[in-house]
Amino acid sequence: MADVNIKQKRIRIAILVMALLLALNVVALTVTLVLKAGKENKGTSVSVPDNIITSSAESTDVSQDRPSADSSSMNTHDAETAASTASGTSDQTEEKNATLISLYNTKPEDNTPFKVTNMFPGDNETKYYCVEVSHKADTELFFKIDVRDGYEKLAEVLKFKVTLMDSGKVVYDGTAENMTQAVSRMLYADNETSTKIYYEINAYLDTSVGNEYQSKDLIADFKWWVEDEEALSPPKTGDNRSITVWLVIGGASLLFILILIILKKRTVTNDEVNQNDCQ
């Protein structure tokens, strides 16, 4: 009977601990989602100088060639410099907005999605994305466009051209339907570093698209990921807000646990006092 009680007690403790952890996770997720939603309106962005756009003819195979020592650890400044160098021109002052999203081991930041309506044959729309990866070893960054179920019709003709802006390499140019495999970009690092990869994504309709594609919708998700999570590292610099958030969550959780313990002790003490009084 005593064994059973001990078992029950242990189970209760386990349930309590897990429930607490779960609650913490849920709170953390909620905070992340709220922050994400908040930032969607602001559109976290970095400026992409116009001159970093290069034509596909100048493209080089960046996914295979290891960069030189100078650019192997490409931070923000390096990325922009390298990109500017690739174009060979710096006269153009017009700037395009690229949305910065980060790919840390625990810190995804959001991005501005496409919202193109009333598209006609010949239309094209371009958006710029910047994925920042904090990593400590060589790793591969993958990108894929996932068309949601029920939107396959327009995916037959809506084309995407995905260009890595630092090299001008077109990594994909075809219909959304045919993008069955992810495109990848190799990231090199010998030690902890942060690499920014700029993507130019151009969505377009050929002029030959017929009437059967009128009034059609397509909803797609753009996804970037790394498979080798061991190579990722926490970001060294940048926005500290997430760390603050985690600190706040941690502090609040500790405070919550302390309050619970104190309340429990008080209840137990009161019960003991009451029992003594009764005796």
Binding site: Q8, L103, P108, T117, F222
Partner: protein, 180 residues
């Protein structure tokens, strides 16, 4: 009975732990999974839709008995219900009857002549886009006149002409050559 209750409690406790563990794994995975995404990218195509006189004929059977020299003018409308400005062309389809090459047809926008010819020459493959464009939601009143030339004699007596008046439209966007 007590043992059974205790077993039940233990079982439910273990089940709770398992459920909690699964939930914990899912939420932890959601927190640390190394991926970013830009969701809900929306692409929507426009549409081209034309209302030609509500589908009603511009001239009805037995409405007129044509004689040489006679001209009948009828009005109709064309409305752009598309999501963009359009080029349009009007043409005659399913043309039948001996008057197809006789009756002279003129389509006008006010005083501007858009098309002139016979039902045979104003077929889909022979007409080009009208010079003007139809703006978004614009409804335009047009007139079509049918003239029976005086030069035709008795050989065209008791002849008829039946046709469908049709319109094609295409968006002006990315279409400088007015290709249909």
């Amino acid at each position: 009975m007590t043992v059974s209750k205790t077993q039940k409690k233990l079982t439910s406790g273990i089940l709770t732990i398992i459920i909690l563990a699964i939930c914990l794994c899912i939420t932890t995975f959601a927190l640390i999974y190394s991926s970013v995404s830009v969701d809900n990218n929306l692409f929507r195509t426009g549409n081209i839709k034309i209302n030609l006189n509500d589908g009603k004929p511009v001239i009805n059977e037995h409405e007129f008995i044509f004689e040489p020299g006679m001209t009948v003018e009828k009005s109709f409308f064309i409305e752009n219900q598309s999501s963009w400005d359009v080029y349009y062309k009007l043409y005659f389809d399913n043309v039948n009857g001996d008057l197809a090459d006789v009756i002279e047809i003129t389509v006008k926008n006010g005083d501007t002549e858009l098309y002139k010819g016979t039902a045979t020459t104003l077929s889909r493959d022979k007409v080009i886009a009208a010079d003007d464009t139809l703006k978004l939601n614009e409804e335009r009143k047009l007139t079509v006149s049918f003239h029976y030339p005086e030069t035709y004699g008795n050989d065209t007596q008791d002849c008829t002409l039946t046709f469908d008046l049709c319109a094609d439209a295409v968006q002006t966007k990315n279409n400088p050559d007015k290709l249909f």
